[in-house]
């Protein structure tokens, strides 16, 4: 579904992605982990051509998104819903209008139908009675969930989540995990999730990839991932108190 072919990208004079190669299957929940600044957000942005590789190609289905322009790029992008790391809500629109924006711009639905859809999506992310509030009046975690509601409002077939649960309390985090998992099970949505939260990665991921110093150093199923012998992966697991036998057995 999404394939990176030797994708190389320099940013700010630093090699952020160094010939990265991987493939995401249709219907997967592909989790990308890695330390801060490893290039996870950069990787996501290449999938929708907010960034273009210096070398290599990014494929979405049969389309080379890294070379697409104009109408073709629009067509590819319209398959995606994206949750940005900082939610990226428009500050001068209230929550309801933010979520409704893609509907208003790209569908001919009536206002009542739009209101109904918006409310339904907000309920999916555990938000109620916030439609009239402005983004500046919400907590970081609430903004994130509004961003998530907006990402799924057009029913995209591929959803990119940049740290969907960072800044959320554990209970809400698990709700979001369930939502992501349900979208995959019930609708066959392909998801790419960037997260620091290994618990959620292990719970929802069909495969987990670790990005380190510009390379994907590990791609494996959750079961294999916690048994990885690689030092960097082990360090990452240990730091969240995950051992090969399960969680919470402090090393």
């Amino acid at each position: 579904m999404i394939r990176f072919e030797k994708v190389t990208r320099r940013l700010g004079g630093r090699l952020v992605l160094d010939a990265v190669d991987f493939e995401i299957e249709k219907g997967e929940t592909f989790v990308i982990v890695g330390s801060s600044g490893a290039g996870k957000s950069v990787t996501l942005k290449h999938m929708v051509r907010l960034l273009t590789p210096d070398a290599g190609r990014v494929w979405v289905g049969d389309d080379a998104v890294s070379e697409a322009r104009g109408a073709e790029l629009e067509r590819i992008r319209s398959r995606f819903g994206v949750l940005f790391q900082g939610a990226a809500l428009l500050q001068w629109l209230n929550v309801g209008d933010n979520v409704a924006l893609p509907l208003r711009e790209h569908t001919d639905l009536g206002e009542e139908e739009i209101d109904r859809l918006v409310e339904e999506r907000l309920r999916l992310v555990n938000l109620e009675d916030v439609a009239a509030k402005f983004p500046a009046d919400l907590s970081g975690g609430m903004r994130k969930r509004v961003g998530l509601a907006r990402a799924i409002v057009m029913k995209p077939e591929i959803i990119l989540y940049d740290e969907p649960t960072s800044g959320l309390d554990p209970v809400t985090s698990r709700t979001i995990d369930h939502l992501i998992d349900n979208l995959r099970r019930e609708l066959g949505v392909t998801s790419v999730v960037v997260t620091h939260d290994l618990h959620s990665a292990l719970a929802i991921g069909t495969r987990i990839a670790m990005l380190h110093e510009g390379k994907i150093i590990e791609v494996s199923t959750p079961e294999e991932f916690i048994r990885s012998k690689q030092e960097v992966v082990r360090g990452f697991l240990d730091a969240q108190y995950i051992t090969q036998r399960g969680t919470w057995e402090t090393a």
Binding site: L50, T52, E74, S78, F84, E105, H106
Partner: protein, 282 residues
């Protein structure tokens, strides 16, 4: 949730990928790069402006109409106070300076013409342009710049909402309409300011002043001034939006874009103002 909704939209042709240049090897490389980048940015601004014009059709949708009215309102209200003071004093200074010189030849009654012509041809649009660049242009750059660094522009693009159409076109219309209106206001206040100085400092009666002013000032003076005002409005929007879109590096970057917007608008207004005057009066 059912099948996907909606139809694809259109992409903007603005360039927003982050850029990085190795430090220049020497002073000349530095200067050369500055020149090339300036030319390139000017080109990109013009491409963006062209696209904003192509999106003018969209001005007839309800959302854009609201946005245009809102921007016009903000532009007018934000700058009215400053413009009032600046316009009055510009007229007063003009009247006083020329009046004191003309008095040596016993010609002080002609300050009417002097003030009216200079205000309408030059000072009206120029002063209004500077004030709007500093107050409205900087605000546009700061707003769009903040959106750029918080990934809101990226989000718009991904929702297939053309940022140029969504953000630039309404502001372009608003400023291109408001600039001439505010310029007329500046002209009137400037001429009134001149009249006050004439009456109180130079002994030119109000009737003599206005009689003189209307006798020699032509319609052409007014039209050329208004033409300049429209151009200045377009320049300010273009510079501010382009700077906003190319903002990077967080809050520091927003500050930098705001500052550059004011400086570049000032310089462009100055140069374009001169060229229009050349075009119509020589």
């Amino acid at each position: 949730m059912g099948p996907p909704l909606g139809r694809p939209g259109e992409t903007a042709i603005i360039h927003r990928e982050p850029e990085y240049f190795e430090p220049p090897i020497n002073f000349f490389a530095h200067i050369g790069r500055r020149i090339l980048l300036t030319l390139r940015n000017a080109g990109r601004s013009l491409v963006m402006l062209g696209e904003a014009f192509l999106c003018l059709r969209s001005a007839f949708t309800k959302r854009v109409r609201h946005e245009v009215l809102f921007q016009m309102f903000v532009t007018g209200i934000k700058s009215l106070g400053v413009i009032t003071v600046v316009a009055m004093f510009t007229g007063m200074i003009l009247a006083l300076q020329t009046g004191l010189e003309l008095r040596r030849f016993g010609q002080e009654v002609n300050i009417g013409t002097a003030v009216a012509v200079v205000m309408m041809r030059e000072m009206g649009p120029f002063m209004t342009g500077l004030i709007i660049a500093a107050s409205v242009g900087s605000a546009i750059a700061a707003q769009i710049g903040t959106m750029a660094v918080s990934e809101e522009i990226d989000a718009l693009e991904l929702m297939s909402i053309n940022p140029v159409k969504f953000l630039v076109t309404p502001r372009l219309i608003a400023l291109a309409v408001m600039m001439p209106i505010l310029t007329v206001y500046t002209n009137i206040l400037g001429i009134v300011g001149g009249a006050i100085v004439g009456a109180t400092q130079l002994g030119v009666s109000l009737t003599a002043y206005f009689d003189n002013a209307t006798r020699y000032a032509e319609n052409k003076d007014l039209y050329v001034g208004l033409f300049k005002a429209v151009l200045f409005g377009i320049i300010i929007t273009t510079v501010a939006c382009h700077q906003g879109f190319s903002t990077s590096e967080g809050a520091v970057g927003v500050g930098r874009s705001t500052r550059k917007t004011v400086i570049i608008s000032f310089l462009t207004i100055l140069v374009v103002g001169y060229m229009v005057t050349r075009l119509f009066y020589s």
